[in-house]
């Protein structure tokens, strides 16, 4: 009798330990591809620091949300269209993973482009990728949560310039670090990165508009997004991606109004739901 009971305990313990090991080995990973045209003379420093800010921020986010990390930074001479596409294609994604792609580079659109998203410009070889292609490549990976952000202009180019562009056809800001006892912040990171599923796409400006920045300040959308993120993860309520993206326009335009340039209206698509709620 006792022996049978003992065997059951051993069997139960074995199953429990196995489950824990399996859970651990299948922990979700936060994958990120961060691209910044840091060679550019006018905005290279801002674009490079945008990548650095995202790199540091995502490491913090992964730590708080208990995600493994796989972050690829592409800056300087490495910023080439083929390399970026290959890195995205090579990502090995499990269904519970998170993918973040961030592009700090010049952008444009053609007069007859129907999609609202910009084309990303690779200055080294003078070619480009439509953001829609990145969205297609990322969504095909079927990650739990996909975030695609482009801090680029969405201004029109002259028709005459179209033929010369080879378009592919198809200051470091840190995120809020939670102290050991800061459960609220840790839970909020978990809510945003671990308990959310879906797709987020954002770009710095609506069709026809410029995205502004400076080497001193950074790219306005990037710094505003990180600032708004920091505020949101400290809130008790309304912690979701919508409130983060809805809050950035006001922050961007503090700078555009001060410098008397046209207002910048970021655009975003959020199709997410919260799990376990």
């Amino acid at each position: 009798m006792f022996l049978r009971f003992k065997n059951k305990i051993i069997l139960f313990s074995f199953i429990l330990i196995s489950s824990c090991v399996a859970l651990r080995t299948e922990a979700a990973t936060l994958h990120a591809i961060l691209v910044g045209d840091s060679r550019d003379r006018s905005l290279g420093t801002a674009m490079g620091s945008g990548v650095d800010s995202f790199y540091e921020g995502l490491k913090i986010a992964a730590n708080h949300a208990r995600l493994d990390v796989n972050i690829i930074r592409i800056v300087g001479n490495a910023v080439e269209r083929g390399r970026v596409i290959k890195k995205i294609k090579d990502l090995a994604i499990k269904k519970n993973d998170v993918i973040v792609t961030y592009f700090a580079m010049h952008g444009y659109r053609e007069a007859d482009k129907t999609s609202v998203w910009p084309n990303l410009w690779f200055s080294q070889k003078g070619n480009s990728i439509p953001l829609e292609l990145i969205i297609d490549l990322i969504t095909a990976k079927n990650a739990r949560l996909s975030i695609i952000i482009s801090d680029s202009c969405n201004t029109y180019i002259e028709d005459l310039d179209r033929s010369i562009i080879d378009l592919e056809q198809t200051q470091i800001m840190a995120l809020k670090v939670a102290k050991n006892n800061d459960k609220l912040i840790k839970n909020n990171y978990k809510k945003l990165f671990l308990d959310t599923t879906g797709l987020i796409v954002a770009s710095a400006s609506i069709p026809g508009e410029a995205a502004w920045g400076s080497n001193k300040l950074g790219m306005l959308m990037t710094i505003s997004l990180l600032d708004q993120f920091n505020e949101t993860v400290q809130q008790k309520n309304n912690v979701n991606w919508e409130s983060i993206f809805e809050g950035i326009e006001k922050k961007i335009n503090v700078h555009t109004e001060r410098c008397r340039v046209a207002l910048q209206h970021p655009q975003f698509l959020i199709e997410t739901k919260i799990l376990n709620n």
Partner: protein, 172 residues
């Protein structure tokens, strides 16, 4: 009585002189500030070159994927005195530029202005009409500026260039 009037006139004249001198002084200070802002923005060397060239040539250009990222399409035309003066006034006004920010647009030049002094090109200014930006290339240095605050005046000037020099490849 006469003395009183005489004194009043002198007092009035004195006050007017003081006011005039004061306004002249303010004007000088204002001009100096503008000059300083312009030099900070463009660089002193570029300002000097744009200020006193022997001649300015306008040339149609197109973007090139190879360095230096533009290709001159002809030897160009020398600007008339009037057009040259108009260009200098456009370029040398600091209120025509965005300060502190730059846009992340693609720079696709379609026009270039060569500033020539002593038979040498001292500066080349490229114009990207789609992004409302200009690039000043001065020796090894180059600088992109956004002319959004004065884009209507700049664009109407470029339209005149298109008509006067028959540069059909420029956009409308």
């Amino acid at each position: 009585m006469f003395n009183k009037i005489f004194n009043s006139v002198w007092t009035l004249l004195f006050v007017m002189c003081v006011l005039f001198a004061n306004s002249m002084h303010s004007q000088i200070i204002d001009d100096q500030n503008k000059e300083l802002k312009l030099q900070t923005l463009l660089g002193k060397e570029a300002v000097d070159v744009i200020y006193q060239p022997d001649s300015v040539t306008v040339i149609p250009v197109k973007f090139s994927a190879q360095s230096p990222a533009y290709e001159l399409l002809s030897s160009g035309n020398t600007l008339s005195c009037g057009m040259q003066k108009e260009l200098q006034d456009l370029l040398l006004d600091e209120t025509h530029y965005v300060h502190e920010l730059t846009k992340s647009a693609v720079f696709l030049p379609s026009l270039a202005f060569k500033f020539i002094k002593n038979n040498e090109t001292k500066a080349l200014i490229l114009i990207s009409l789609s992004s409302n930006q200009l690039k000043i290339i001065n020796g090894e240095n180059s600088l992109i500026l956004d002319y959004d605050p004065a884009k209507e005046i700049f664009n109407s000037y470029f339209q005149k260039i298109k008509i006067n020099y028959q540069f059909n490849q420029l956009g409308s």
